[in-house]
Symmetry: C2
Subunit: 219 residues, 2 copies
DNA sequence: TCAATAGTGTCTTTAAGACAATATCTT
DNA sequence: AAGATATTGTCTTAAAGACACTATTGA
């Protein structure tokens, strides 16, 4: 019985120009050398403490992405998804503000709806991540990870609307954010420079910043 | 770099005597031969089409459990969880009516809150499955898979209440079931034999029976 | 002052829960 | 008929959405 090829793949998502985009990496090695695919790689049993650690290692190459929101998505497997043989890929997804993503020759952002030509089953993995994010965004504070701090409530609402693909009621949105209780206003600090009333700037409460990924059904 | 040990584990859950219980299997081989652990085993690259297929194969040993509700839970990994070395376990959970579970010397049901002594990280895997089931039960039709068909609405409500650990409003519960639109009354068939009004018997609509595991946020 | 967007008050609509009335069995 | 549980109607309460009004800035 042949061995199982064990890898991790990371779906790094961000919002650029109002569109949900995924970071693709140009593969250096076969199979599919030269094509754009999800960043990923073999699990390193000599250095990775677990697959999450492997996913973080994969992301460390990307400048700026230090400690993103990272959650296990699902595991994809089978004899045909990788031409090298029977393989398992533990997929993770990350959410980051678009300001942290630097594009380069070997790292480009692509709209999640236009992934023709990506190899393996990576289109399916991305679709799965997008579905998870859309779903969780409807009842949780997940989208705050896409906003660069500090941010205003109108900015955050726009992020929710872009992720969910629908416009939200302003009053209800603010009530919900108030209930979730994960944001705090930065006293006396407002947006400025525009020809209208400035908006209060917010940040994630310190207690929440690294706790948001702990619960199954995130708050 | 040493190889990764690839396995699947199955958390088969059912409700017996009003308590959520998990099927444990007495291990025939080392490590931990003779102790009760989650049913599982190596991924067979020569016969399994994917890890879900491997999980179904693991369940085929259990008489009566033919095509249960089965969903991928999460993947657990690391150098220490299995004494044989760096390992990955893709965990699935299954929900079945308790009438399908036959206990034997090598297959026993244990309440999910009393898993002292189970090896590996299986207690953590079970806890994770229980959390997932409790969470999904609050907004989906997941618990119907724990009811042997045909069932009455009061029986189904009791199952929801056992899974969620709280009593539910009867009117709201029935309204919600009506909205979910996954059940159909069996015309003219009622429970009988008890000294009170008989209850309408229901079954899952055929269109739903095998479609309930498809969506991320099951209906 | 005007245009533009932020923030809030309040009414309406919808969903959830409480409670009680009626229905239908066995004994 | 009495006792038990099923089923349904309806009132109350809570959440969500619609809409409009006030607030604050730069041009």
């Amino acid at each position: 019985m042949q061995e199982v090829i064990c890898t991790v793949d990371v779906v790094l998502l961000t919002l650029r120009e109002g569109v949900l985009q995924v970071l693709l990496h140009r593969r250096e090695r076969e199979p599919f050398a030269g094509t754009l695919a999800l960043p990923g790689g073999y699990v390193h049993t000599d250095s990775d403490r677990d697959t999450r650690d492997a996913a973080l290692r994969v992301l460390r190459d990307k400048p700026g992405v230090h400690s993103p929101y990272l959650e296990q998505l699902a595991t994809f497997s089978g004899p045909a998804r990788d031409p090298r043989g029977w393989s398992i890929s533990v997929a993770y997804y990350a959410l980051v503000p678009d300001t942290l993503v630097t594009e380069a020759a070997d790292a480009v952002l692509c709209p999640v709806d236009d992934l023709r030509g990506v190899p393996f089953d990576h289109a399916q993995i991305v679709a799965s991540a997008v579905q998870r994010v859309r779903n969780k965004s409807s009842y949780s504070s997940l989208p705050v990870h896409v906003c660069q701090e500090p941010f205003t409530l109108p900015q955050l609402q726009a992020v929710y609307e872009a992720l969910l693909g629908e416009s939200l009621n302003k009053v209800s949105f603010r009530r919900k954010m108030d209930e979730l209780d994960v944001l705090e206003a930065i006293p006396g600090v407002f947006s400025s420079g525009s020809a209208h009333r400035p908006a209060q700037l917010y940040r994630v409460k310190p207690a929440w910043r690294h706790a948001l990924s702990l619960s199954e059904r995130a708050i």
